[in-house]
Point group: C2
Chain length 102, copies 2
């Protein structure tokens, strides 16, 4: 099993248990979280740090930003579902969010 193989529901649930505020999408094909920051500056700081992590992982988010809010969806298109890469990027984004708020 590689990082790009689709995880089953149990593995995803186990991964999500370590990630505060992340949940499985309605159709089960992605994990998602909405972040709120004090202002645009912190929101974009979070996005910048996440972008570097994404590029390093060679795995990128789908995300929407308006002012202090960032909606993130992570999925692995080639696997048509959630993989270890999505969980890894989510963990990096959690770290980025805590730095952006610090």
């Amino acid at each position: 099993m590689t990082k790009r193989d689709r995880l089953n529901a149990d593995d995803i649930a186990e991964g999500l248990a370590d990630l505060t505020g992340w949940s499985l999408s309605a159709d089960g094909s992605a994990i998602e979280k909405t972040y709120h920051f004090p202002s645009f500056v912190e929101a974009f700081g979070f996005m910048s740090q996440s972008a570097l992590a994404a590029e390093k992982l060679d795995h990128h988010p789908e995300w929407f930003n308006v002012y202090n809010r960032v909606d993130v969806t992570l999925t692995t298109h080639t696997a048509r579902g959630v993989t270890a890469l999505d969980l890894a990027l989510a963990a990096r984004m959690e770290a980025a969010a805590s730095h952006a708020r610090a």
Copy 2:
């Protein structure tokens, strides 16, 4: 009339004539454009330069990014429509996009 007053349809049309690829949203309350770049690096480079311009203008975009694509919507919530600020930010984003591709 200030930069935060809603523009009428003629003024918006005039502004859009100077902006390649931008169009009025279906409900007339925003202007929008979808950008495509060679990869995530250029897309996020564009977003970074646009974010600095937005912060300087104190006027921020609504935008969605997935890999090399960025969907941008500009509107002025307080005016419930398109203002000179939206046209100004769109012009900055056009400059950012041309730098990101250079």
